[in-house]
């Protein structure tokens, strides 16, 4: 079945929900922000590793059983509820997917166990402009006889300030915009010539600009086929979009629940504000959108695991719907809270700030609408 979790997946979801409720409430993000941690949180990373959350889509042995992206989606939805800053999307989803889909046997043997154990963190270094545009890659990788020399600049790399390894999307042939000529590389953050400029972002999760200045890597650093790295990159980005959509669904649900509680407690004109029809209808519409988005996210997660259905179409559907949803709900959350929603002490603002980052990563709603139309032939 597409929409019904297995017992194991249900247990994983319940564990994740309990964990974020007890260990990573919104106050945790607030405290990290207030002490200037900018998303660095070694304590949480250790706990996530103990729970086994980094290895959810990595089988114990090649070809073995795992919880699947459906399982990981439950965890990402849970962390979205409390806006938790974790390396899970970058490391447990993106890096684990990329290495499983495109990595050599040696690369898989070296990195998958370390990822599963939570011993390392990755970040995907892709964007070079202010907008998601995955083939718009100018960063050069020139063959130098013993390997490659990388030069270029990656902007707004999510998790880039906290990563030990980068998956760098570079160009070995052609021009920015070409599909052919893209190659992926594993590059240690500490490699000579790599400069990480930490960014303080509106959501307090942090990010980084990453500059590559004559960075030398060996031939073993190539992830996937030379020049045809887009064959790996595109399915990885679909999975990233689906995972992010799951996180956004969680954020939307939490912001909605917070709003609903306020509607049922705040009084004006001697009445609960939730008894006014203008509020009731907007709440009901948000709830309808949440239910519809949940169906899209669940279908997309399940399609990756089953290999049935069109993953690319469902990824764009899920990311676009979740983007519209979190945009709507975070705005309504601030508006329906009135003046208190404008204050830093209340949570609605945190949800709205995080929402805009979530919306932008791996393609906004309009990018995915355009892609959905293309895939459907119009």
């Amino acid at each position: 079945m597409t929409f019904v979790l297995t017992e194991d997946q249900e247990m994983l979801r319940d564990t994740a929900l309990a964990f974020v409720r007890d260990e990573l409430p919104v106050t945790h993000l607030r405290a990290l922000r207030d002490k200037g941690a900018n998303g660095h949180d070694a304590g949480t990373r250790k706990k996530l590793a103990e729970l086994g959350f980094f290895g959810v889509i990595i089988p114990d042995e090649p070809g073995g059983e795992h919880f699947g992206l459906v399982g990981l989606g439950q965890i990402l939805e849970a962390q979205g509820r409390t806006l938790a800053a974790t390396p899970l999307l970058q490391t447990a989803l993106i890096a684990a997917s990329a290495i499983q889909l495109g990595g050599s046997k040696a690369m898989q043997a070296e990195w998958l166990p370390r990822i599963a154990a939570g011993e390392t963190t990755f970040a995907l270094a892709l964007d070079e402009t202010a907008h998601f545009s995955p083939l718009n890659v100018a960063t050069e990788a020139e063959s130098n006889g013993q390997g490659y020399t990388l030069n270029g600049m990656k902007r707004f790399v999510p998790g880039g300030h906290d990563a030990e390894m980068f998956i760098v999307v570079a160009r070995t042939f052609g021009e920015a915009g070409d599909r052919h000529g893209i190659t992926l590389f594993l590059v240690p953050a500490k490699a000579k010539g790599v400069t990480v400029q930490e960014l303080r972002t509106v959501d307090a999760h942090g990010a980084a600009h990453v500059t590559l200045d004559d960075v030398m890597v060996g031939p073993g650093a190539v992830l996937g086929p030379v020049d045809e790295g887009a064959d790996v990159l595109e399915p990885v980005l679909d999975r990233a979009a689906i995972g992010m959509a799951a996180e956004m669904l969680g954020s939307s649900v939490a912001a909605f629940e917070m709003t609903l509680e306020y509607l049922q407690s705040r009084k004006q004109f001697g009445q609960l504000i939730g008894s006014f029809q203008s509020m009731q209808h907007r709440a009901a519409k948000m709830f309808t959108e949440i239910e519809m988005t949940r169906s899209c996210v669940a279908a997309a997660l399940a399609a990756v695991d089953s290999g049935k259905g069109d993953v690319a179409e469902l990824a764009s559907l899920a990311k676009a719907k979740a983007g519209e949803l979190v945009h709507l709900v975070s705005n309504e959350c601030v508006q329906m809270h009135g003046g208190i929603g404008m204050t830093d002490v209340a949570d609605p603002g945190l949800y709205m700030k995080r929402a805009r980052v979530q919306e932008a990563l791996y393609g906004g709603a309009s990018w995915h609408r355009d892609r959905y139309a293309r895939l459907q032939g119009f």
Binding site: M1, T2, V4, L272, F276, A283, A284, C296, R369
Partner: protein, 404 residues
Amino acid sequence: MAYDVTEDLDAFRVETRDWLEANCPPSMRTPMTDDEIVWGGKRGTFVNPESETWLDRMGEKGWTAPEWPAAYGGGGLTKDENRVLQEELRRIKARPALFSFGLWMFGPALLEFGNEEQKKRFLPDIVKGKTRWCQGYSEPGAGSDLAGLQTRCEDKGDHYLINGQKVWTSYADQADWIFCLVRTDTSSKHEGISFILFDMESPGVEARPILLISGSSPFCETFFTDVKVPKDQLVGRVNGGWEIAKRLLQFERSSISAGGFGGTGGSGILGPEEYAKMHVGTDSEGRIADGDLRGRIADHKMYAKAFSLTVQRQTEQAKAGQQVGHTASILKYGAAKMNQDRHELLIEALGSEALGWEGEGFDENAMKATRGWLRSKGNSIEGGTSEINLNVVAKRVLGLKDHQ
């Protein structure tokens, strides 16, 4: 045990497949035009004679109502057997043998609330398509506020006497019987309503079709003047009709959502993206040349996909025994929005081709789309307005309170 069930199902599938192969006439496996839809009833006509054969055979098996008990003429199938039957019907692209408010709304309610005698008397003729039912709910003064209805039903000892007026009675001019909400007590609003059944040929019943903006007349004004109704035709208890009424509305909203309003769906009309490519044109990459229109079509198609995934999710979760909650109202609201958006985009993409009303010079399908667009405006009004459905979600699902 589980193994046996699967084996039985496999046998049932083989049996069903053989039976359909032998009994579903060839023309019943082709797309259906609107005028070939079979509504049954005494006044029912069959444009295609094979439709009658198909209805007779399916009705005899009880497969127009596969899960109703065989004692009432139904198929007596389990949920799993019915799933197999539906899969096999889809496999050969079989047309529905019967469209019927009796099957979709009244029958399920009578199964829950009717007495044994009423079930035996009314259900078999619904299954066979012999009786066509209409729904006497709305009144001129009771639309969204349905419980404000005033059609009076007086107890005259050995019979009831009904006086009043209904409106928006779908196909009242073609129906044989009506299931009707009437007021049996004026001292209480919700607790003064009863659910009663009577023959549309009873003296004192008059149905007048209403001409709609789309040019068609699917609804009637229906008048009752001193209509005598035998006492055994009241369902449930006197003044206990509101509960039945609400339950039946859920069946109505579910059947609307499941069909997504159908309307101008399968009858030769293309999707808005196809008409846009045809009439607006495409760029060098094959994209609709008007980027704004293209974006809105994509947005609509995504909404439609999200809607159908939601219907699918709720079906699966219900099967797995999970609580699905008051979802009928969400889906009714979504289906109306989806069908209206689709028709707006269709006529926008068709351009001046969509501005024809009748006669020569316009494409027949384009005129159908235009009529469908006008008809679709009723989607957010009929079966509970979108506003009422949002009220239901706000109050029953989200728990928001009324003014104190």
